[in-house]
Amino acid sequence: MKLHEFQTKAIFRREGFPLPESILSSSPTQAIQAASEIGYPVILKAQSLVSGRGKAGGIRLSRNDEETEKAASDILNIKLKNISIQHVLVEKAINIEEELFIGVHYEAGSGSPTFVLSTEGGISLEDKKTLSPSFSFIHTIDPLIGIHAYIVRQGCAKLRIDPNKWKVIEQTSIKLWSVFEKFDATLAEINSMVFDKNGHATVLDGKLMIDNNALFRQREFAGFLDPAITSFAQAEARKFDHKLVRMEGNVAVLSNDQGLASATIDEMSRFGLKPASVLLLDNNATSSSVSAACRLLENDSSVKAVLVNIYCNHSMCSDIARGIINGHEESTFETPYFIRLEGSDYDCASALLVEQANITPTKDLLQVVQSVSLFINQ
């Protein structure tokens, strides 16, 4: 789960990072009020979880109320990937002398947490291509040891950073690691830390991503779900521990395994079929939670057919079948189902589906995809 800049900053501030003063606003009037409290010049920053706000004009400098009003109303009209901006962060503008990047994330190969210090500002660990080795220090962290000052010093020395700044970089890096650990982050970035002429350090921007699987012990973030990017259906799916991913096609895919779902989508693509959404059932799905999943899929107007590919290993096919039958019955739509089932109790499930819903399941994925293709292209 990616946090907004203002959410990240609230946590950073609480943890004692030196941040410029900032106030969140959601209208031009509020932005002017915020700017007058902070004092000009200020920066107005679009709050978006979709990247590319800079290019879209979502970061603006303002010296007076007039400029603030214009900038705020411009920003609130920006749409990034069809998602409109809800909030503008008004922040004290800082004179920048030198920029530093500090980040911790899990490395894709080893799975180890990794510390990055770079003298290039404006990069991000999400886009590693831009990280140039000659300006960066990368250290694989042993999570049992963590980050200590000596590790950061190695980086400072390698990057030939002014020794007067080492102390504050050491402290900030160690603090960033403790935030990463404490909040079950999968990524924690300071981008960037800046120094003014007097060598005074400020953290200008930060990014935090929290491990969804750790929300059971990171309860404060459960309320951080952004309604702009988390649809009602996704929030509903989450209640049953299902996962719903929206895509652009017109066939809903219901599965209980990400590999099976991927194989299904690969097979669909051979017939020119595109998924509208993919719903992954929880391993412990019961027939009532399967019903809920079916209702969610059918309620999406872009869904013309539901393709089920489920291998029952933890559960019985007949429970899944009952769930589908009930969910379909309770739904107000007549969306057709195409079902591939496999696993324990298949024959019973098959009989139930034929008798009660007039759906004939099969064990053959190709056959199901062909039927969907015939239906969609008829």
Partner: protein, 291 residues
């Protein structure tokens, strides 16, 4: 022969009284008859599985009494780290963690703790280890597999059951199937298991089942080129999925365009790995080489 588990394995189950634990314990017991104990805190002294399997309060006691070498863990995600540490501390060599949705922080610390020990972690989210005709330490369906010389390493879940069934229908036997788990962070990797199959006398060739999510397939590709002499085959799903559309229960902050299935397939093909584009192509691909 096989790797990790065989007919002489002494297997215990942590979380044997839970829903999944008791369900799969029955399957494992019925298949290999080598479940020697179960761990269920506060139930030590009781017996389970029709009175055939003794229960213990702790892994340590369980190992002392049963001389177990393999543990299969079925506890809920929030207790998975505790269960793994208990197993590591008790000195057991094969730790197979079936629990899913385990936080990355916990996995990374477990991985770091196990590094210098004589132990291997399969999972979390693992489907386990299955040596047909010998033993099951995990959740693989067992009725559709025969003994043979193909080693299978999987980073997918239920899709691997479909593959095993297809192999069975085509009379292709399996030495051992290892399900590493479909998490983006896992204990043992493709590379670790490739090395085990390379030195196993009864494994002639190796099949890799992969998907998007991390760079394990890419790392496996370079390792195969350098150190694996046995023929390797691969089936990688997710070719048609836009990398922005992340499926899966794990939060894949590590997922980016570089880790797309198409890249993985390219890497593996460059290392001489035979690629099946669709699951149906697997039997033919494997039969051609066998002859």
């Amino acid at each position: 022969m096989s790797i990790l588990v065989d007919q002489n394995s002494r297997i215990i189950i942590q979380g044997i009284n839970g829903r999944a634990g008791s369900f799969f314990a029955k399957r494992m017991q019925a298949y290999g008859n080598n479940i020697v104990g179960g761990v269920a805190p506060a139930h030590g002294g009781d017996w389970t599985l029709e009175g055939k399997v003794p229960l213990f309060d702790t892994v340590q006691e369980c190992i002392q009494s049963t001389d177990a070498d393999t543990t299969v863990i079925f506890v809920p995600a929030h207790s998975a780290a505790d269960a793994c540490f208990e197993a590591i501390d008790a000195g057991i060599s094969n730790i197979i963690c079936i629990s899913s949705k385990v936080p990355m922080k916990d996995i990374s610390i477990i991985k770091s703790s196990i590094k210098d020990r004589d132990a291997i972690l399969i999972g979390p989210s693992a489907t386990g280890v299955f040596s047909p005709g010998k033993a099951l330490a995990g959740i693989f369906p067992v009725n559709k597999a025969i003994e043979g010389n193909l080693g299978v390493i999987s980073r997918v879940g239920a899709l691997s059951y479909d593959v095993l069934q297809l192999l069975y229908e085509n009379n292709i036997g399996v030495s051992t199937a290892v399900g590493l788990g479909d998490n983006c962070m896992t204990g043992a990797s493709f590379v670790d298991i490739l090395d085990l199959f390379e030195i196993d006398a009864h494994t002639d060739r190796i099949l890799i089942l992969g998907q998007p999510g991390n760079i394990q397939e890419e790392l496996a590709a370079s390792h195969i080129l350098e150190s694996i002499t046995k023929p390797v085959y691969a089936y990688i799903v997710g070719k048609s999925i836009d990398p922005e559309n992340i499926i899966g229960h794990t939060d894949m902050s590590m997922f980016d365009a570089q880790h797309r299935s198409l890249n993985k397939i390219q890497f593996l093909a460059n290392s001489g790995v035979q690629i099946a584009n669709r699951i149906e192509e697997l039997p033919l691909l494997l039969k051609n080489k066998a002859g």
